[in-house]
Amino acid sequence: MSILLNNSPILILALPLLAAFLIPLIGRINKKTVGIFSALVLAISLVFTILLAVKVITVGPQIYVFGAKSSGLTLPSGLNVPIRIMFQVDAMGIFMGLITATVSFLGAIYSLAFIKKTEGMDNFYSLLLLLTVGMFGMEFTGDLFNFFVFLEIASIASVALIAYRGIDFGEPAEAGFKYMVVSSISALVVLFAIGILYGEYDLLNIAALANVIKYSQLDKIALALLLPVLAMKSGAVPMHMWTPDAYSEAPAPITMILVAASQASLYALFRIVFSLYNVNSNTLAAGWIIIIFGVLSMFIGVTMAIVQKDIKRLMAYHAVSQTGYMLLGVGVGLAVLSNPVALKEYGITSLEGGIFHIMNHAMYKGLLFLTAGALFFRTGTRNLNKMGGLAHSMKYTTIFFIIGAAAIAGLPPFNGFASKLLIYESVYKFNPLLSIIAMVVSILTLASFVKVFHSAFLGPKLPQFNDVQEVPQSMILSMAILSCVIIFFGLFPDLIVKNLVHPAVMALVEQVKYTGTVLGGM
């Protein structure tokens, strides 16, 4: 048992990976068990993630060096640079890991009923597991090149999943092509930046690089290359063209996981500006760039969402808009990073708001996409004008939709309110205008979801939807779990902020701690 616990950082990742390799073999024997098998493996992975989270929060950052004589041996004897790949799981990484584990487990459960039992079903589950592995790798790794490899795994798996329905329709293939081009450009530019850093310092480990980085002209260029491409991968506005297509064309459970995948890129962005560059760089400028990305995303996302007719496309634009909140919160925190007074006064709160919003967004946006998937599953359309009166026949879905919509609009007893309040009050101290924009966007979000609720669920029962029933139990189960999480977070936000979010924020802000876990007391 202790050997399992000691190796938990790798087992979280390696077990789904092994399962993904085995699925083609299992699918050859019995196609029906594949879905249950992958849900089971993801459940085990979730359990390990929770155990690791408890360990990280209570004991401190965990480190796992691949192939070394012991898992904590970061430096070879007589050398002060790490040479092996290592996983470096601190509070921020495990925070993202919890999101990934939860979302992919629920996605697998939802898929049990949602995905038709056809020829390619085992491939679907294999790709789902691989996408999960890619996200876990991006979140846990402490090595830049390893990050690139996992970025590619996640993006290739997501492309195949987005285009999964492409055999019958043209649009999924089109969305997949767009996403593929976007993600391969961003991955290659990331690799180019890694090459620049490697050429200068002969290092690939993030902590070791952070220790020696000088912020020379080349480092500035590397940062200038990394910032926009990772923002592009996370769907911030000037480069958001792939988001609505990919989110709306993917199957619903995959859309939920894609939201978490784009947040993994967001995490990488934060990791690079906070842990790699930190106060070495011009934090005010970098912070304002992130704030501008954020404000643009918030505003353009919500204005584009209002005019949409396709329910999933509408929600995808809202996802862009919500990404803006995270960028705003973290950007304000970054802008005041080199100013200890302001950081203590409102910077930490703002970072807490931004980071907490990541988790909340993954939960309620996942729930909303799942309800959209449930509507599509029963009615066969995503067009809002063709829907109506579905509250009569799909009661549970209606309740879940109300919970999700209230949470995204930031209404009080739900989790969206908790993180948005943190963002409003701290950003107001930094720059009142930004806070007002954020509130206006929140109101517009509410308006947009009232419209969706009205046109899809209210009204008389339509004749063409007479035989529409409630969705199968596995879909209800995953939506119900998400709703419970949303309500729990909404009722006890202090508990989460104190135990999960605050350690995560401190892990980002305190660069010395991050480098110290690898390099010892240097």
Partner: protein, 158 residues
């Protein structure tokens, strides 16, 4: 893809075995000479591509079966990750066979030497696993692309 002339087929028959042997040589000697699992696997897969081009996608079905390739691919990868898991008593990917004395366990002569096959620990085994994976993965890709090309061309004609 249509099948090509008799000359091409005869030459392909003749060269096929040599390419396979060369590919396997590169895989097996990965820890001593330039090369390794990926390179050798790619060379081996080029032999399959040669058969596919010379015999055409319909006739080559007798020799190249997609199902068998994907079986081998899963098998190779599972082998690779199990080799990585086998070091889990110490750490994931720990090379416990190196310098151990048994299989592939001889200590290498430090400095320039003519090379000893029986060194490297897990590295030669991993090379073989990856070689198996890569040759079958590229084989599957080539076969499926050929099938897909056939399909799109049919659409063009109709």
């Amino acid at each position: 893809m249509k099948e090509m002339s008799k000359i091409v087929k005869t030459v392909a028959n003749f060269v096929y075995g040599f390419i396979l042997i060369y590919g396997f040589y590169i895989i097996v000697h990965g820890h001593l000479t330039p090369g390794g699992g990926f390179q050798g696997g790619a060379v081996t897969a080029s032999a399959f591509a040669l058969i596919l081009v010379s015999y055409g996608s319909v006739n080559s079905k007798k020799f190249l079966k997609k199902d068998i390739f994907s079986l081998f691919e899963s098998f190779g990868l599972t082998l690779f990750i199990l080799l990585a898991f086998s070091g889990l008593g110490i750490t994931f990917f720990y090379n416990f066979l190196a310098n151990y004395g048994s299989w592939f366990g001889d200590a290498a002569v430090i400095g320039v030497n003519p090379g000893n096959m029986n060194t490297g620990g897990l590295i030669p085994l991993m090379n073989m696993a990856v070689g198996l994976e890569v040759l079958s993965a590229l084989g599957v890709i080539v076969l499926i692309m050929a099938k897909g090309a056939e399909f799109t061309r049919k659409k063009e004609n109709s």
